[in-house]
Amino acid sequence: MVDLTTRIGAVTLANPVMPASGTFGPELAQVFDLGLLGALVTKSVTPEPRSGNPLPRLCETEAGILNSIGIPGKGLDHFIAHAIPEWRRFRPPLVVSLSAGTNAAFAEAAARLADTPGIAAIEANISCPNLEEDGRAFAMFPESAAAAIAAMRARCALPIWAKLSPNTGDIAAVARAAEEAGADAIVVANTILGLAIDIEKATPKLGAGMGGFSGPAFKPIALRLTWQCAQAVRIPVIGVGGIATAEDAVEFMMAGATAVQVGTASFISPTALVQVIDGLRDFCTRRGFARSADLTGLALPGSGRLAAE
């Protein structure tokens, strides 16, 4: 029996596999028992209602997709009143992804979530535009990332997971800044900016122009970011980007991830999350790992744990 128990700071998960924000919803309970998941991660909620971006909001590429959904939603009040109770029907710890346009709005919303029972952690989606910095994402720079996390930290006792953007030039510095500002974990990475053009119409394929790139094609980049973050911080790193199979998840864990998130793969295979959990257990059994947690960091420089075995 392989022990899949996973600790992300104060939060204990039955296993290290959870969905990625924005690619998951209670609708997936139509396909399998969501109680199997390590955690539940909501779509990003914003303080105010938002209608989202113009259509088309999604297009496919070679082994991946671009999206510019634009975080449509009914805002935090509605979320607390209606979505949280719906989520609480399920067993796994609930992680609420939060997005906002200013440090103050992040702090205010975090405080309200801290007052709401049933939430295990906040995932701070700081890859979204910072309205006070010309729309450049908070997670682009160590300073703005730290300011957003610190503002939340001051108002909220819940664990805060900082979700970083691959669009920065120095992920290690951003991760360290988030850690120093009080983040309890790093989630890396959100989508990377991409573009596709419809050459018959000579316009971008997405209504919004550029979009976020995700899926298997993005994996080598997200894996590299995970590896860089794992070497930069002491808090747990949660790896996300292109994971579709248990083998992908093992790569992220060996690169230093304590847990993983599965996003786009659920669109292609709604049972992908369950397949990753089952496959991870099988891999550990086959290779003689008693605990999946032992995979974390095995391939990091200087680890040499497998070689020594």
């Binding site: 919803g25 028992d33 259509l55 909001r57 669109f267 369950v274």
Partner: protein
Amino acid sequence: MDLAPFPVAERDAVVIESAPVGRRYHRLRLDAPDLSARGRPGQFFHLLCRDGGGNGPYLRRPMSIWRCGAEEPLGFLFHVKGRGTAALAALRAGDRLSVVGPLGQGFSLHPSWRRILILARGVGLATLAPLTDAAARLGIAVDAVLSARDPADLMADEFAGASGALVTPVFDADGSSDPAAVEALLRARFEAARPDAVFTCGSNRLFLLLQRLSAEYAIPGQVALEQQMGCGLGMCFCCVRPIRAPDGGTVNLRVCAEGPVFDLQAALGW
């Protein structure tokens, strides 16, 4: 992986028939008795479009249920349009096809109804076809106006099967499918024997016409909409369409989750 008793399955099904229909269409029948029994007219499946060798586009493609029922293989009828449908059309009997479904909200038929009218064009008839059987089983008479380029494109058999629906074809070739001609035809039907409900799919022009006429005659209606999809399950919000809300404004609803079937008056043209 089929994790019964969940209402939506992800499953490999074996192709038992794969055949071209007319010049531009193709039909597939799958061996998946329980899924076929579970499917309802107007619902759809999300298909992984891989030809026999595993080649195809990254995303799945939504496809309406064309044939379903406890005694029928699960069937799809589609226009071979781009990369995804081309891969589907390349499947052969014996190949496996990964399906996710049944998905979405299908048509509703009230047992008290006596007669419905269906207005379809092109491959929209695939979506409406299973209504004819369902209506027949409830003893509801089906009056169908099918619009096509020409007789070769009509697919009246694919539509009505053995349901006994009364099919009136109209064609571009002879002008009988002109909006004005169809309007006259519908008005005549509505006057002669007012249907209890009307249904449409596949043509914006016919949708707008039917919406206007059925409002005038105060006949309830349903329309099946299409939209590009990501997840097919309601999680990604890429498939939204603006739908009229009771307060007169519009709300973005997900075609995959709140649809694909919407109230005829609430839907907007596309």
